[in-house]
Symmetry: C2
Subunit: 200 residues, 2 copies
């Protein structure tokens, strides 16, 4: 692209284009929107990013990103320390929190086992999970991992690693999503939902 607006704007566009969901075209639109709303949006966003980059750290207990350590969930006495929900990353943890149905604590793995990407157990926070469960305080470990090959491989591995602790390991149910039309569901989901059918 011709350097039509000076290197500063070109650099801003190039960096914005690295955000997920923003291509080169939407990065330009974003840069323009930012330049038009400097005081309301551009400066506050720059500051929010700089502050978050400085202050957000992984929690020493569960690995969740937060500005405090232990994180706000681990430090919250009203959250049940006997229930640990294992998630792939903070995105999955935020999704669980938005659902508002879980009142226990988390363990953020930092990824999934992946033969393709060459990611083995040592790259994930699995030893930390085993150590947490081994303290004896935990009554149940809930695996909230993706229903993909990598997610299920990881779930299987964690279940085996935790077998010796005697703590029950459960997994999120598979089935028809709320609002899901059977026409649009894949065969695997329908088959699993049928096997896991419950009294109506």
């Amino acid at each position: 692209m011709a350097a039509s607006a000076g290197p500063e704007i070109e650099r801003l566009i190039a960096l914005l284009a690295k955000l997920p969901g923003l291509g080169p075209r939407s990065a330009r639109r974003s840069a323009l929107a930012l330049l038009r709303r400097r005081d309301q949006l551009m400066r506050p966003l720059a500051q929010a990013m700089a502050e978050a980059a400085e202050r957000v750290k992984p929690c020493g207990i569960c690995g969740a990103l937060d500005t405090t350590d232990p994180c706000s969930t681990c430090a919250d006495p009203s959250r049940d320390a006997g229930l640990i929900c294992v998630v792939e990353d903070d995105g999955a943890r935020w999704a669980m929190e938005r659902a508002g149905a879980f009142r226990g604590r988390y363990h953020v793995l930092g990824g999934l086992l992946s033969a393709l990407d060459g990611r083995g157990p040592e790259a994930l926070r699995i030893n930390e999970l085993v150590a947490r469960v081994a303290t004896g305080e935990v009554r149940e470990v809930i695996l909230a991992l993706a229903a993909t090959v990598d997610g299920q491989t990881t779930a299987h591995y964690i279940t085996e690693r935790l077998a010796s602790t005697g703590v029950p390991v459960t997994s999120l149910a598979r089935g028809v999503p709320v609002g899901g039309d059977l026409d649009w569901l894949d065969d695997g989901t329908i088959a699993q939902a049928l096997r896991a059918r419950r009294p109506a």
Copy 2:
């Protein structure tokens, strides 16, 4: 949304969601991507925004956003000062520059006349355009405005305002876009392309 990651991250997500093209979901994905790539992406982007917010100003001649005043195009002696391309905003100017077909200078209006939004001529840089053209240096004014009601209203108004100067005012051609399939084109474009047909 439950404040699951502290107010700093919530604030970052809220600000990111204001960027065009990013909804709440993609803003969360972006925040996560930024937090994962702090040194490679988050800090440089924060700095690029802060710098651009500070240094980018509209050019005193053409109104284009740039870090220098006059802007790099107005200051470039190889750009023909006798040709002025009138554009709605910097996004349109960048698009023209990317096309790489124009070697003259620009005039950025800062919007279009709009009865709906109550935007009149005094809100745009039209007086500045008339003053530039009146200097006698300009041989042609090319209107590169949107083929919308507002764009055409603005083009008509500018043409009338410049009539007394005697400088020719032209407009970008209407027609079939490159790669455009006639099946997908609207009737208006096809009709205009037919009227403006040229020897093959």
